[in-house]
């Protein structure tokens, strides 16, 4: 759906994809940076960015019996099943992953006067048995809207969570609208991911979110991950600011120091066909 937009950016896309290639580990997956063991999240993001079969195979190999694709950190697990479901192609593996995503719920968190949230809602957590946060909820929503539209109740709840957590000025931060009497500001990266998840729905929060992103992305343009995610969301919403954001991203990619795998993958998604596999509609 966005292919024509690539015309202006093929060289940069080549650069990003070329940088990802050598990052691949012998097992077919990707680590968060060069020479680090493969992990589900960067592998899944490369899978989304490049429709990469070896990355998909790595994810399938690491799927648990319950469909989950996680990273164990002792007594808890970082759950990456939502982003993995976006990377996987059609088939049993993806359906089992989506089954898990549909079941996955954050732990209830009590609202307090200091941190007023709707405590009747359960979004998605970063790690098992913990509470709702913006980014994992956006990933869960995105996976279900993209590939499991029948999960109506879970989708509606996740949309409502993002509505509840949207900042007073529009957009999203890690997950608190107000804390200790202070209206907390939105961040570019979290706003962009939430917007991708909400594309085509919840205009009451998506529109102010987009306005916030269009207002903020230049302020955070020192960050290549922020630029890449912003470009992806701006492009998905057809914002006239997508092209200047992509231009800024081009400059950031050219800076010395190298970029981590997630940023490279996000850059490739922002400019390439991976956005088709990412943005809900």
């Amino acid at each position: 759906m966005y292919h024509g937009w690539l015309v202006d950016n093929p060289t940069m896309l080549d650069v990003l994809e070329g940088a990802l290639g050598p990052r691949r580990n012998a097992d077919g997956g990707f680590g968060p940076a060069a020479s680090i063991a493969s992990e589900p999240e960067p592998t899944a993001m490369v899978g989304v960015a490049l429709a990469d079969d070896r990355a998909r195979a790595w994810l399938a190999e690491h799927q648990a019996d319950d469909g989950a694709i996680t990273l164990s950190i002792g007594t808890v697990e970082r759950d990456l099943t939502s982003v993995a479901a976006l990377a996987l192609g059609p088939g049993v593996t993806r359906e089992r992953a989506l089954d898990h995503v549909e079941r996955l719920r954050a732990a209830p968190a009590p609202a307090t006067a200091l941190v007023p949230i709707r405590d009747d809602l359960q979004g998605f957590p970063w790690t098992t048995h913990t509470s709702t946060w913006t980014e994992p909820t956006a990933w869960g929503l995105l996976a279900l809207r993209k590939h499991r539209a029948s999960a109506v109740e879970r989708i509606d709840e996740a949309v409502t969570v993002l509505r509840d957590r949207s900042c007073v000025t529009g957009g999203w931060n890690y997950g608190n609208r107000v804390a200790f009497g202070v209206e907390l500001p939105p961040f570019v990266q979290t706003t962009a991911i939430a917007l991708l998840a909400l594309r085509g729905t919840a205009e009451d929060v998506a529109e102010p979110g987009l306005a916030a992103l269009e207002r903020l992305w230049r302020d955070e343009s020192e960050g290549p991950l922020s630029l890449a995610t912003a470009t992806a969301a701006l492009r998905a919403y057809g914002s006239p600011q997508a092209l200047p954001a992509a231009t800024a991203l081009r400059r950031a990619v050219a800076q010395p120091g190298g970029l981590d795998t997630m940023t490279l993958a996000w850059g490739a998604i922002a400019l390439g066909e991976g956005l088709d596999r990412m943005a809900a509609s």
Binding site: G31, P32, A33, S35, I36, A37, E39, E41, L71, I73, G74, T75, V76, R78, A106, A107, A109, P110, A111, T112, L114, V115, I117, G123, P125, W126, T127, H129, T130, S131, T132, W133, E135, P136, R165, N173, Y174, G175, N176, A179, F180, G181, V182, L184, P185, F187, V188, Q189, T190, E220, E222, G223, P224, L225, S226, D260, T263
Partner: protein
């Protein structure tokens, strides 16, 4: 030499303080929430200690230097070098990881350790013989670490002293079995930059904290845990109890040195939305408990009333004022009462 003696070579005007006087007038910060309650239960009579005794031998020589610096334009390199010498910092030939606080970036606030302090510390550590000094942080609220480092001015400060930065959120990590059991985690994943360092220097901002009362060199270590594993924020640590997590993480990382940036701290609604507080202080130590207890007193609070600080003194270091060799300035006239944060002690399970 008793532990009350001055460090040889301490400068003019530096003297041992009367620690009994130092505590007088210190306000009490209530820590009455669930986490604090759980910690207190751990101290009930006959309860087994929640740490391996062989892993935490009794501390021997806690030294803490209190220094004055009215602004970041002061000779920070010289001050920090002197302070580190006075606490007996042993870094010759060592690979040092310097861990400042950059939990997130918000322009115009005092959330972060000042980049000028970080750069000055790097120079000072090199002068003392460190073979390599690396700056590392794993921001807890922001996923785009490059943005935080650049926007905060840290990138420029590090470039000026040609020091590398490691994103602890992305660094290779390995399992570290915990030798204390305040949380149920059992193990922590620690970045290679932390485990490979000969010396970890915790370099916090002097701030109040709405859940932990104060955030200093021990709470600052939350940033050592990779967010790609623990999330943004590292919510599992909140579920396990912030105070319990502070104790287990400190027991795992064991920062040998601490440099507290209290030139401009934060009071009130910290650690993010508080008010800048001109305190004009730098606190340097070789024992995280002694350093944090001293800094807490300088903020006008009683560390024994902050449960995690009190608990830490059982096994992670020295909280007893009489066992801390205090060098540098006389801290008593330097006590600068901070406005306490609201909501101290409540467990943070908010989303």
């Amino acid at each position: 030499m008793s532990h009350h003696d001055q460090v040889p070579g301490a400068g003019a005007g530096r003297h041992r303080i009367d620690r009994r006087r130092f505590i007088v007038g210190a306000a009490v910060v209530a820590a009455s929430g669930t986490g604090a309650f759980a910690l207190r239960r751990a101290r009930e009579a006959n309860a087994p200690v929640p740490w391996d005794r062989d892993a935490f031998p009794p501390p021997t020589s806690a030294r803490v230097a209190v220094l004055r610096a009215d602004s970041y334009d002061a000779d920070l390199e010289g001050l920090l070098e002197d302070g580190l010498r006075e606490v007996g910092a042993e870094v010759r030939g060592a690979r040092v990881l310097l861990k400042p606080n950059l939990v997130e970036y918000d322009p115009g606030t005092s959330v972060n350790t000042d980049p000028r302090m970080v750069a000055a510390a790097i120079v000072a550590l090199r002068r003392l013989g460190a073979s390599k000094v690396t700056c590392g942080e794993g921001p807890g609220h922001r996923r785009d670490t490059r943005y935080v480092v650049d926007a905060s001015g840290l990138a420029d400060a590090l470039a000026a002293v040609e020091a590398p930065f490691v994103d602890l959120n992305l660094d290779a990590a390995s399992i570290h079995e915990l030798r204390s059991r305040y949380t149920t985690l059992g193990q922590l994943w620690l970045p290679r930059a932390v485990t490979d360092a000969d010396v970890v220097v915790s370099m916090p901002k002097m701030k109040t904290h709405h859940w932990a009362s104060v955030t200093l060199s021990m709470k600052n270590l939350f940033g050592c845990l990779p967010s790609r594993l623990y999330g943004w924020p590292k919510n599992v640590l909140h579920w396990e109890g912030i105070e319990q997590s502070i104790l287990d993480i400190t027991g795992a990382v064991r920062p040998a040195l601490q440099i507290v940036d209290g030139i401009v701290g934060m009071e009130g609604n910290g650690p993010i939305n508080g008010t800048p507080k001109q305190a004009g202080l730098i606190v340097i130590g070789n024992d995280p408990v002694a350093t944090d207890h001293t800094a807490t007193r300088l903020m006008g609070f009683d560390p024994s009333a902050i449960v995690y600080l009190d608990e830490a003194a059982r096994f992670l270091g020295t909280g007893d004022r009489d066992a801390i060799t205090q060098v540098g300035e006389d801290p008593e006239p330097l006590v600068t009462p901070f406005v306490a944060a609201p909501g101290n002690g409540e467990i943070d399970v908010s989303g």
